[in-house]
Point group: C2
Chain length 332, copies 2
């Protein structure tokens, strides 16, 4: 008998604002060197690739130091990036936040660090991360909803990540909940994202504050409403501010309509909401679950738990590691 | 070598208005004795079961006559019924249109005709029928939308019918497209079904006609607006009646919002619309496809064909036969 050698996988979560990188053992039980840096996309794609490569090398060095493993113990790099993507060719097709088009991200990273790499959608990765090691563990049909600057999603159906016919499945943020409603950044009207993304939450708060009703929100941003964020709204709601609670409750109702649609369509075991929204706590989740109960069929409601993600910023990195495993022969 | 003996399977599509029964060879290439009778649910469950059993026996007799096969050549009966169902126990849990609760339909039919039986949702069966032998052939990810008295649906994901965690997946009619919109029969507001089911189409036409605008619709029902149906509206629209065209175009926009949601969530190869709506033709399908293009992401639109069903009333029967095969060991 020979002692089996532990293998390590690297994960990268490329976002419009931050890059998060880390490493883990293939079973996910030990995680190393998870760290974040600003993306600085304005410096151009080459600079972003160089930064990602440097962060990966730092994660390798740190992991080798902590575990005493050799560089040959690293099997490869899973990358999560904003879509739409061409997974087969490893391309980022279009990413408005980064300004990239048909960019061969997978091979650029693979060449830079001398390791195999895989590419998948960032919201898919966050969903897979929460399914593998976080709040959605044990689910067979899992829907992930990632809420930040935009609203994304991932679908795990019968234990398999669902990519769809052209790799764009899971665009939950761009499902219509009000067909004659608010204009969305995608050009459509009434998308969930136009109501419940971080910027949309801040915008709805601004619209309420324009009515001159008293609210602690005004003081929190020293009267500069353009500085309002979803996080500030959540915090004020927890402290009992009425207007902030109203904004959060409306958010819960919009998200509840979107999540109820997912329950009636898929009948999943778990819906996990990841991203900053996970910090909102019961202020958001209680009315959200109530709205879902109001809108979805009882057998679908009873079969499903609706939970905040537990992995925070690591969800995308850990999910990218899991998708590398899933796309690489030799890993279970 | 022994000559292989052809096997036959029976299918039943139980609806609130009609029962359709028929038989087919296991490969679906030959179909026999597909016929329909009124359900007459007011006579009670026993009478409906007796009618179904008699129709099955008639289909067996007719098939034996046409093919010269023996009764032993019949492998069993696939049943499609309105949900929610408990597939494992073969129960119809609740069916408002039939007034049944926890009714052991599968075993009652199996005992009545002395053959194994399986039970699945009627909209799932119609979707599987169109996938197996109709408009959705060749698809890997197929969404079926059945439009009649209600709006149902079925999901075929990666070549497998998706039932969900508690067998209620596919309730596409009860997805919200206007969160503060029309009251739906399910108690929720703004469901797709509240806008685009047959009765909802007739109701929207009545609301427009109440404004006294001239329309051929009034003459078609001799002023009795309660006699309006979706079919009459479709026919008047084809003849160029402006108000009817308006109703059909609005229907297309509501359905388009619902179908666009499915494209952005699933990224399917095929969306097949079955039921009476398939008769509406380009009057409905052209603006419907335009609305989907307006609302869904381009890669999802380009990957998907949106088509009317081609099997008509046989879709449910043929799909029930296919689901019997899928749930019965020994059939591929």
């Amino acid at each position: 008998m020979t002692a089996s050698v532990e293998r390590y996988i690297l994960g990268v979560d490329l976002g419009g604002t931050n890059i998060v990188v880390g490493a883990a053992t293939a079973d996910g039980s030990r995680r190393f060197a998870i760290h974040s840096e600003p993306t600085r996309s304005s410096e151009g794609a080459d600079a972003v690739v160089a930064r990602m490569a440097r962060m990966i090398e730092a994660a390798i060095a740190q992991t080798m130091k902590e575990t005493g493993c050799k560089r040959s113990a690293f099997a490869g790099v899973g990358i999560g990036a904003p879509g739409p993507l061409d997974r087969e060719r490893g391309l980022v097709i279009v990413t408005p936040n980064l300004g990239w088009r048909d960019f061969p991200l997978r091979d650029r990273i693979s060449n830079a660090v001398g390791l195999p790499a895989t590419l998948d959608n960032d919201a898919n990765c966050a969903t897979v991360g929460e399914w593998w090691l976080g709040a959605a563990q044990g689910g067979n049909d899992v829907i992930g909803v990632t809420i930040g600057t935009g609203i994304g999603g991932g679908l795990i159906l019968n234990g398999q990540l669902h990519h769809g016919a052209s790799d764009v499945a899971g665009e939950i943020g761009h499902t219509t909940i009000d067909s004659t409603g608010r204009l969305c950044g995608c050009g459509n009207y009434g998308c969930l994202e136009a109501y419940a993304s971080g910027p949309a939450i801040a915008q709805r708060a601004r619209e309420l504050l324009a009515g001159d009703e008293p609210s602690s929100l005004t003081a929190k941003v020293e009267g500069k409403l353009e500085h309002l964020t979803a996080r500030i709204v959540y915090d004020a709601a927890k402290e009992g501010d009425f207007l902030a609670r109203l904004v959060v409750r409306d958010t819960a109702r919009f998200l509840g309509a979107g999540v109820a649609n997912l329950l009636n369509i898929f009948n999943p075991d778990v819906v996990v909401l990841a991203g900053g929204v996970a910090m909102a706590g019961d202020t958001l989740f209680e009315p959200l679950r109530a709205e879902v109960r109001r809108r979805a069929f009882r057998p679908a409601v009873e079969a499903c738990r609706i939970v905040p993600g537990t992995l925070g910023d690591s969800a995308g990195v850990l999910g990218a590691i899991a998708t590398f495993k899933a796309q690489t022969p030799g890993f279970v």
